[in-house]
């Protein structure tokens, strides 16, 4: 009787299985890329406000907002979810701009506070438009409610 369990066979399964499931993953990725245009709100990006949203994303990144907030549930868990902040603030970009602009520079004693970034009005608009764009992505009804 041959050996019941050989290294060669284990190796073949490793290589074969990895290639197999990576191909499967690529196939699913391919399908996803075909589906995204119906879900990811890319119309907003190619629209009039596209460049503003792009600027907003850059500002979002260059101030490391993800270091405290989550966006669509990913990021740090120190500050509120912002994927749906536009709807939470009553579908108002002005409310978002007002909140960011009004943060006290020295913080709030004993409590968490968002830093004051001293953004210009143009930058505030860009961030708010970016968050509005994000809120219109089809996220399969996540978050469960308005509180994020």
């Amino acid at each position: 009787m041959a050996q019941p369990f050989t290294k060669i066979m284990a190796r073949n399964i490793f290589y074969g299985g990895t290639a197999f499931f990576f191909l499967l993953f690529l196939a699913l990725t391919f399908d996803t890329m075909g589906q995204l245009p119906q879900r990811d709100n890319r119309a907003a990006l190619s629209g009039e406000l596209g460049p503003v949203i792009a600027q907003g994303k850059l500002i979002w990144e260059e101030n490391n907002c993800i270091g405290c907030h989550t966006l669509l549930g990913e990021g740090a868990y120190f500050a509120p979810e912002l994927g749906n902040v536009y709807t939470r603030y009553g579908n108002s970009t002005d409310a978002i701009k007002g909140f960011i602009a009004s943060r006290p520079a020295e913080g709030i004693p004993g409590r968490r506070s968002m830093p004051q970034f001293n953004f210009s009005d143009e930058e505030l608009t860009a961030i708010a438009e970016f968050l509005k764009y994000v809120s219109e992505i089809n996220t399969a009804n996540w978050p469960p409610n308005i509180q994020g």
Partner: protein
């Protein structure tokens, strides 16, 4: 130490431990900021502390992986390292780049750092775990390529063992998937989709190959069990890892704008992700039970077994806890994620690196096999202090997360984020206390390198 060039691993290990200390210190700062919101504000805002915490972790794990490779590849290949000088040079390049980056985080505002590193030319900054300036990222790629070249040439020149091949495969995958860090489209869904190709395919994919290879190496060395047996297990474990882990990426594609079928694909495959970890636990205990000799380095064995158990608990069990999409709907982006992240990283990657450091350091420092008995006792104390406090950190964060998901997302009257945070502050205090004990454990660990240096080497009591 059988080959002179293995010595280049030593500075890598020392720098890794130093960064580990930095990581834990900044973790404690963040933990305190969770309950005392204005602590160090606005000098070190939370996001800066978090960047240092997570990036120090990533860099020290990479440093230790490199150190581990420089140590074990020559021994496995039975030849000297291709170029020890290149390895030393790359150590300094990497260390200086990491130090400058951390200094940049702490001394400059993030937007200034983005400006002076010309992020606008190729914007890659400001995404979770990939906060490094673009130029640092390019530096990482160069260091990784030089490292791969060095290790690859060594393996090519010498004996080709399964451990070396698997390690090389893991390291190559690490370098390849990091390239997706440079892809950052304006379209947020695409951005997030491929961001996970770095993050998930690293920690639940190729890093596990590295983990498996290092664990297999230490077990071969300390137990004397037949290499054939261990290599067979290694193949089966990493096969299961990638089979479940690659499509398991889908558990990140539930709520970020991707099609809803990912809820099925992701749930089913990631529900199987604990299997390879379970196999690893069975494997490690099996091999240790069948050991043919008692290696005098007891702590190394303890860390090896600890890795197998804690990786299963942290990555396997705590991952499974919130991986099914109906559960994840309520827990996504809550403290549950943080709980899982802490125990998984500690159990899988921190512990495997300490395992190899624990095994290799006595040899690198001129001992025959092990430290003195006194030093070993200190190290084993540090094992229990750190591991148990990490279990408690995880439990407290899990408690916080369950309460958070309930109050904020499930109850009759869902409450706002900040209100809920107040309600769960008790858990954050408890977590911080556990964190302090972890730091004590870490201090004991470092002390173990200095105590009993002049004592004779421990031997097995046969």
């Amino acid at each position: 130490m059988q080959y002179q060039s293995q010595a280049v691993a030593k500075p890598y290990f020392i720098a890794a431990i130093a960064l580990f200390v930095a990581q834990v210190l900044f973790g404690l700062i963040m933990g305190l900021q969770y309950v005392v919101g204005d602590f160090l504000f606005p000098e070190i805002p939370f996001n800066v502390a978090r960047m240092v915490h997570t990036n120090a972790l990533i860099v020290w794990l990479l440093m230790a992986f490199m150190g581990a490779s420089y140590y074990l590849v020559p021994e496995e290949a039975e030849t000297e390292l291709y170029s020890p000088a290149l390895a030393t040079l790359m150590f300094w390049v990497f260390l200086v780049a990491a130090a400058l980056t951390v200094a940049g985080y702490l001394l400059l505002s993030y937007s200034t750092l983005a400006e002076i590193t010309m992020n606008k030319l190729l914007p890659t900054m400001g995404r979770e775990f990939l906060e490094q300036p673009t130029i640092t990222k390019i530096g990482i790629v160069i260091v990784a390529l030089a490292f791969l070249f060095n290790v690859g040439m060594t393996i090519l020149r010498g004996r080709k063992t399964v451990i070396n091949l698997v390690l090389l495969l893991g390291l190559t995958g690490l370098a390849v998937f990091f390239l997706f860090a440079f892809y950052n489209p304006v379209n947020l869904v695409l951005d997030k989709y491929f961001w996970w190709w770095v993050v998930h395919l690293w920690v639940e994919g190729v890093w596990e190959l590295i983990l498996g290879a290092i664990l297999a190496f230490v077990l071969v060395k300390t137990t004397g069990v037949d290499r054939e047996v261990i290599e067979k297990w290694l193949y089966v474990i990493i096969a299961m890892t990638l089979i479940t882990g690659i499509v398991g990426t889908g558990h990140h594609y539930y709520w970020i704008g991707t099609p809803e079928y990912w809820q099925w694909w992701g749930s089913i495959f990631s529900a199987m992700e604990p299997i390879p970890f379970f196999m690893m636990t069975v494997f490690a205990f099996n091999v240790v039970n069948k050991r043919r000799r008692d290696h005098p380095n007891k702590p190394a064995m303890l860390w090896a077994l600890g890795t197998a158990v804690m990786a299963f608990l942290g990555a396997g069990v705590w991952g499974f806890l919130h991986t099914l999409s109906p559960v994840n709907y309520y827990t996504h982006g809550s403290q549950i994620t943080a709980a899982h992240g802490h125990m998984a990283f500690y159990g899988a990657y921190v512990m495997i690196n300490i395992t190899i450091i624990s095994y290799a350091m006595p040899l690198l420092r001129g001992r025959n096999a092990a430290n003195s008995a006194k030093s070993q006792i200190w190290e084993m104390w540090s094992f229990w202090l750190m591991t148990i406090s990490m279990v408690f950190i995880t439990l407290f964060l899990t408690g916080a997360g369950i309460l958070q998901a309930y109050l904020q997302r499930m109850g009759e009257n869902p409450q706002p984020f900040m209100v809920v945070q107040e309600h769960i502050s008790l858990f954050y205090w408890l977590r911080e206390i556990a964190g302090v004990i972890f730091l004590i454990g870490l201090v004991v660990y470092i002390a173990s390198f200095f105590v009993g240096q002049n004592d004779p080497e421990a031997t097995t009591a046969n």
